[in-house]
Symmetry: C2
Subunit: 499 residues, 2 copies
């Protein structure tokens, strides 16, 4: 065997070990300090990035990957120099745009730990803790939400939860499961008869899922909502749409109902919608991406009433539950449809645990095979803060929105455009004509964001241009809300001079 | 406005700020030390977890989320006590199973930085740096791979790359794009005529994508490969399958070719396959999930020959490019099909940058809307190590596989079952009958893994049970390969006593 030793001797093992524990330790400490310093000075940066398209190529000196190593110090300098100017600071306490991405210390620590184990938890065997911790924390979370037992593993009826990346995946998964169950019953050739329902306020995730799953436009109903019903999906409208479809020979399949729509935080009347859906054999998915987290507070739980009649329910913990993206929690009463549609079992993954039927293999509950260890961050968040504090955080955000709402209401130049349900206020300039108000509200929003001092975004509902003030940033305190309001007044004064 | 001040005073702002920079700093330093210590002692743990199904619920004392906060010290203790025993240690230097998940210090630091900015980069505006850095690093990576210019943004022909989560998403995206382009041409009612091609060695991602995208089993061809062609997809077989389909009135749509299959690292002859595909208007996607990274070394680049005729190419940087999951790099010559199938443009995301047409909005290049800042880790990896070292790392892994292969070849109790192309050796016990060898090889593998000292996995090709020895773990050194070989010999001795 001498020649083998020669071969070994021949290898160039003088390369640095790219995961030396002490090297990692010293460098990671530096990165932690860099991140802490970033958070400390985050208010110094314009909230929304002020760069122009193509800025990076124009400013960065390197045209290709370096041949030789660069030091961490030089890399962090480059992050500050080239990356930070192009960052829109979602963690800034002055970020009120879109929905919050409310990360937290615990969420970040959990993410670090989960990443460090660096497992690819496709099935139980590939790292049992990844699967079992996920089952556990989704049961814990479900209990906090007072989800019916049927959605929990501990319910014993076959239901349970899974962490997806985003709501887009949760909707796509459940839509595909519903599609395949129905087609198995009626025959694949009837695919063009199936109909998916949402409202004109449903998140774009539904449309994307409809497209990916192979439905055509003609099979997708976007039901109009109205201001008089606060942009919730009206059960009467759903009923009419279904009846009309059945008359035309279509087959109702799937409804996506929303708790807290993106544009205005509208809440669809789940209870009545589920009754209609049940009568027509429709799968109901409840998308509570943003607002779902608030429902761990008993005073918000009523928005979920009716969920016991739905098939699936999801929320994004990376929006308002103090966890880093991506972390969409999806619960199902009966995941067997999901498994039937999504499981693939190549021989190279065959193992005794799977064969025993005693374990959950999450690869069969999602679009992808590989999956990160996302349960870790949820677990660390729940343990670090505890339920009582988590409720306090959420309530403090809602109260901040209430303050802002009160300020808007008291200023006659503005109007609160729709009733506020959670932590977001939709307001606009109050002018005599809708078109005029739209035009000036748009100008006004651009004026606000151009200052770099805050970031808010807009929505358009029923022809009305709205400005969305979404509280919920983890670092936001009352002084930021007051400062935002002062800026709103300043900019309004300038803009309204033009009226 | 006095009453507003009253309202403000009323708020319970005594909650701890869940993202206080100094709190983060001190706690994150502790977590860094915990992680460094874990890596330091990683060899003390059994590589593959030895827990039984349901272990966590049985051992963990808490039945639900705690109401009050727990200290970080207590949480880390719980991680060690309840999570670590259920971890299969993918970072262990003795992990030779599946494919490596070759994380690195730089990959971990990049992940920390990307997560800390906590942006949700769905479109350019939401954080320009996320989009522009991704465009940049995928061009850098493409150049390292010597990908044809047509796949790069800098090529100027409209091509470019995008970071997906996993290969499953890359395949699903491109399949949906191909499907919709073809259906636009021939009419949606012809969906049941479209055919997707792969081999019996193609990764299960293809089958999963086929199911999600709404194809039925009858529209999916799994072409048989043979040992005599080293389990590569034979151009003659593809041609025959296509001709037969056309005769039956089917319409060829999509081919997934593989560089480095999961079971045996087979390489499909891309050049000839692409010729046939081009003649038949078929979209060719090249899945180089594991082996693609090796192609940054000129001596491996020939495996990609023909890629210039393919439509899309992907690899998983989280497999063999020193980056934490998930990080699948996908390049396309013409992403317009992707955009047509996947773009949804709600009014609440309308913005001037998008309207100008000057920016890339990656939400239109993927299944989901939200996306993490994954480019950061690739950038940090490239800069921290430099191209020369990255090649050295990859070559050292391949050399380790060569050593192991040499040892297997020299021991007559074993045989190398298929030619080795990259860092994986497929071997089995050499017995006179195939069935006998299968049975004993299975027993042998179970015997090896039961020791907890290494972890290898299996594959079955053409009725042959193989043991896969996949080198490439970042912490693996030559001594681990030699130790693994010694264990192989020990266990073989015991098992073969039974023959």
């Amino acid at each position: 065997m001498g020649s083998i030793n020669d071969e070994i001797a021949d290898i160039d093992f003088n390369v640095v070990n790219p995961l030396d524990p002490e090297e990692f330790r010293s460098q990671a400490h530096k990165v932690v300090d860099y991140i802490a310093d970033y958070y400390k000075k985050i208010e110094q940066f314009p909230v929304v990035s002020q760069v122009v398209p193509g800025y990076l190529r124009k400013t960065i000196p390197q045209n290709s990957a370096p041949n030789s190593p660069e030091s961490l110090e030089s890399i962090l300098q480059d992050v500050s120099r080239y990356v930070v100017p192009g960052i829109t600071h979602w963690q800034s306490p002055n970020f009120f745009a879109y929905f919050p991405a409310s990360n937290s210390t615990a969420g970040l620590l959990g993410e670090m730990l989960g990443t460090a184990f660096n497992v690819v938890g496709f099935n139980w065997l590939s790292s049992p803790a990844v699967t079992e911790l996920e089952m556990l924390v989704l049961d814990w979370f479900g209990e906090m939400l007072n989800l019916p037992k049927a959605f929990l593993f501990s319910g014993g009826g076959g239901g349970g939860g899974v962490i997806q990346g985003t709501t887009c995946e949760a909707i796509l998964c459940t839509l595909v499961a519903a599609r395949d169950m129905k087609l198995k019953e009626i025959g694949r050739e009837k695919m063009s008869k199936l109909v998916v329902y949402g409202s004109d306020q449903t998140h774009m995730s539904l449309q994307k899922a409809v497209q990916v799953a192979g439905f055509s436009e003609e099979n997708f109903r976007v039901i109009k909502t109205t201001k008089s019903e606060s942009f919730g999906l009206s059960p009467a409208s759903l009923k009419m749409a279904i009846q009309s479809d059945i008359q035309k020979g279509f087959i109702p399949l799937y409804l996506c109902a929303t708790i807290g729509t993106t544009s205005t935080n509208a809440v669809d009347p789940l209870d009545s919608l589920c009754d209609i859906a049940q009568q027509n054999g429709i799968w109901v998915h409840v998308d509570a991406a943003y607002a779902g987290s608030a429902c761990i507070c008993p005073e918000f739980r009523h928005f979920m009433n009716g969920v016991e009649k739905a098939n699936s329910f999801s929320l994004n913990a990376h929006k308002w539950f103090f966890s880093a993206p991506d972390c969409c929690c999806l619960w199902l009463k009966d995941p067997s449809g999901l498994r039937n549609s999504l499981s693939v079992n190549p021989t190279y993954l065959k193992n005794r645990a799977t064969d025993s039927g005693e374990v959950v293999d999450y690869k069969d509950w999602q679009i992808t095979l590989s999956r990160r260890f996302r349960a870790m961050k949820l677990w660390v968040v729940m343990k670090s803060y505890g339920v009582a504090n988590l409720r306090k955080f959420l309530r403090s955000h809602v109260k901040m929105a209430k303050i802002f709402e009160g300020l808007v209401e008291r200023d006659e130049r503005f109007e609160v455009a729709v009733p506020r349900n959670f932590g977001m206020v939709c307001f606009r300039l109050s002018l005599d004509e809708v078109q005029k108000s739209n035009m000036f509200s748009l100008k006004f929003l651009e004026g606000i964001n151009k200052t770099g001092r805050v970031y808010m975004t807009h929505a358009v509902v029923d022809g009305m241009y709205l400005i969305r003030f979404a509280a919920g940033g983890t670092m936001t305190e009352e002084r930021h809300v007051i400062m935002a309001w002062k800026l709103v007044q300043e900019v309004a004064e300038k803009i309204l001079k033009g009226v």
